[in-house]
Structures are given as structure tokens and as C-alpha cells.
Amino acid sequence: MKSLETEIKEIIIDSLDLEDISIDDIETDEPLFGDGLGLDSIDALELGLAIKKQFNIKLDSDSEESKKHFYSVGTLASFIEQQRGAN
């Protein structure tokens, strides 16, 4: 079975049209925005929508907490696990 991290990487590539990037190019713990993968604010919204749809979880777009959850693939995976546990 695919790991949650791999699934998130696939969603990132598909939802953000990263046609030249493969799963192996995305480090689980590197920052998604700014210096790391180089995503921007529109990507953040698009990715948020894709994650909400795929995992049926709630996101608060304005909170500082959400920023922490979206720091890397690793932090997103922990957040999704935690939300799944809560449901």
C-alpha cells in the first residue's frame, strides 16, 4: 500500500500541474513554500482544496496552525493522520 506521504506528493504534482517534477524530487521534510519546492500563495489555496477533497478534512485557511500543517509533506501527513483519528 502507498504511504500517506507518497499520496500527498501525488496530489501536489497533479493539483499544481508540476509536470516536470516526480515524487522522488519532493523531499518529505523540505519546505513546500518559498525556498523549498518554491510554491506560492495560489498553490497553497489550490493544494488546500485538493487535500480537503481527497481526505474529507476541514481546513481553516487563515489560522497560524494551518501554516504549520502546510510546512512540508511530513507535517501535512501528521495533520491528516490526526484529523482522521479525530473523526
Binding site: 499544481l16 500541474d17 508540476l18 509536470e19 516536470d20 517534477i21 518554491g38 495560489i42 489555496l45 489550490e46 482544496l49 480537503k52 477533497k53
Partner: protein, 247 residues
């Protein structure tokens, strides 16, 4: 204004038309000089290229090639981006999502405005000059020429990039069109008339009997630019535009 003739210098031109249209096009100069190849835009890194919609890709492709042909700098020109329908197809898909109570894609929403292509061009080329986005029905290309003329009157030492572009209108609004035109983009790099080796004069007058043009005005103009005729009259739904080549 209708009887006034205005003059523009033409430094370079570049036209792209959807590949499938080549066989049905019966204008030899247009077929010979236009680019009918699939667009790759290799000059833009993939991380930036992914932001371009189908429509913005056309505009970017002809804009960059036209400027390159004149060995000019893309960061320094004024720009006029003209599109009759703009992001119509994307807007239909957004409205459709809303109707079906799906959430709207933020990327689609942010790129659905009429000046999205002009904005992306200015970001990619780091162009901080003035830019205008125009839509004027079947006269869109004509009014883009008038806007370019206005800009050159105000900044006579500058160059104006005029890009006129549209995607073929898709369902369901395609059913409301009198005629369906292929996706295309035409770019011209324009200057004040005395600073380019060749150019055009144009005048226009209203026309009362409504016509359905065979081709978008921009494509009829591009054919004229390369054919042997010295003058042409191009009629749109409501206007007759006259052009003369100045060599």
C-alpha cells in the same frame, strides 16, 4: 475621427493559428507565414509555465517570438493585449462548478480575468511599462491598433507590443456564435511611423448592413501584411477598416 488616417510603423509580426486550421485555410499568404505548430514555450521554466492557461500560452508564444524577431527587449515595450472573448471557456467551467456546488479552483478563479494574460506576460518578462487589455467585439483588433496609436502619440520613442488572441469558443456558448473561428494569436511590434522601415495607414467608417466576417480581423490583417495587395478593406460586424501598406 472616422475619416482621419492614422499611421503606424511595424517592426515585426508573428502569428500562430491552431494546427488543424492549416488545411482549411484558403489564404496562401496566411498559410505560408503563420506558425501552425503545437506550442511548447521552452523559453519559460516549467514551474512558471504551469501557470499559463491555454489562452495565455498563445499570447505568450507570439509575443515572445515577435519581440525576438525584432531583437528588442521584452521588458521595455508598452503592451496592448486584445481578446474578444478572453477567458470565456475558463469562466464557463467556473460557473459550471458553482452550479454543481463544487468548490471553484483558486487557480482557475485567479486567471479568469480578462487581463490575466497581460499580467502573466509582465511578470515573466519583468516588464513594468504600461499595459492595456482590450475587448471590442469583432473590432477588437482595430481598437487595439487605435490604442497602440494613442500610446505612441504619448510616448513616441517607445515600442508597443500589440497581441490579439482568442481561443475557439467552446460549448455551450459556441452555439450563440454566428461563425466559429480557430484559436489564434497575432503579435505586432509597433512604433511611430518614421522609426520603422515599413508600416501601415488605417482609417475606418461605420457600416450599416451587418456582416459576418469570414475570419477574425487580426488574421485578415496578417494575410494582407504578407500578400501583394497595397490596400485592403476588412469588414467586421459593424465597421469597415481600410489599410494601406507604407513601404
Amino acid at each position: 475621427m472616422h475619416n482621419k488616417t492614422i499611421k503606424l510603423g511595424v517592426l515585426s509580426s508573428y502569428c500562430w493559428i491552431a494546427p488543424g486550421y492549416k488545411e482549411s485555410c484558403n489564404l496562401p499568404s496566411l498559410t505560408e507565414h503563420a506558425d501552425f505548430d503545437p506550442i511548447t514555450l521552452k523559453q519559460i521554466p516549467p514551474i512558471k509555465r504551469r501557470r499559463l492557461s491555454g489562452l495565455s500560452k498563445l499570447a505568450m508564444h507570439t509575443s515572445l517570438n515577435c519581440i525576438e524577431q525584432a531583437a528588442s527587449s521584452p521588458a521595455d515595450c508598452l503592451s496592448v493585449f486584445a481578446s474578444q472573448h478572453g477567458e470565456l471557456n475558463r469562466t464557463v467551467s467556473i460557473v459550471d462548478s458553482m452550479y454543481q456546488e463544487h468548490e471553484v479552483s483558486p487557480k482557475d478563479f485567479s486567471l479568469s480575468v480578462h487581463n490575466a494574460s497581460l499580467g502573466l506576460f509582465s511578470i515573466f518578462t519583468r516588464n513594468k511599462q504600461a499595459g492595456t487589455s482590450i475587448a471590442a467585439g469583432s473590432d477588437t483588433f482595430g481598437y487595439a491598433l487605435l490604442e497602440s496609436y494613442n500610446l505612441l502619440q504619448r510616448f513616441p520613442e517607445k515600442q508597443v507590443l500589440l497581441t490579439c488572441f482568442d481561443l475557439e469558443v467552446s460549448h455551450p456558448l459556441s452555439e450563440l456564435q454566428n461563425k466559429l473561428y480557430p484559436s489564434y494569436s497575432l503579435s505586432l511590434l509597433l512604433t511611430s511611423p518614421n522609426t520603422a522601415p515599413s508600416g501601415i495607414s488605417l482609417s475606418f467608417e461605420p457600416q450599416s448592413n451587418l456582416q459576418v466576417p469570414e475570419l477574425p480581423m487580426a488574421l485578415a490583417f496578417y494575410d494582407f501584411l504578407y500578400n501583394k495587395a497595397s490596400t485592403v478593406a476588412i469588414t467586421t460586424d459593424d465597421t469597415r477598416w481600410k489599410f494601406i501598406k507604407n513601404v
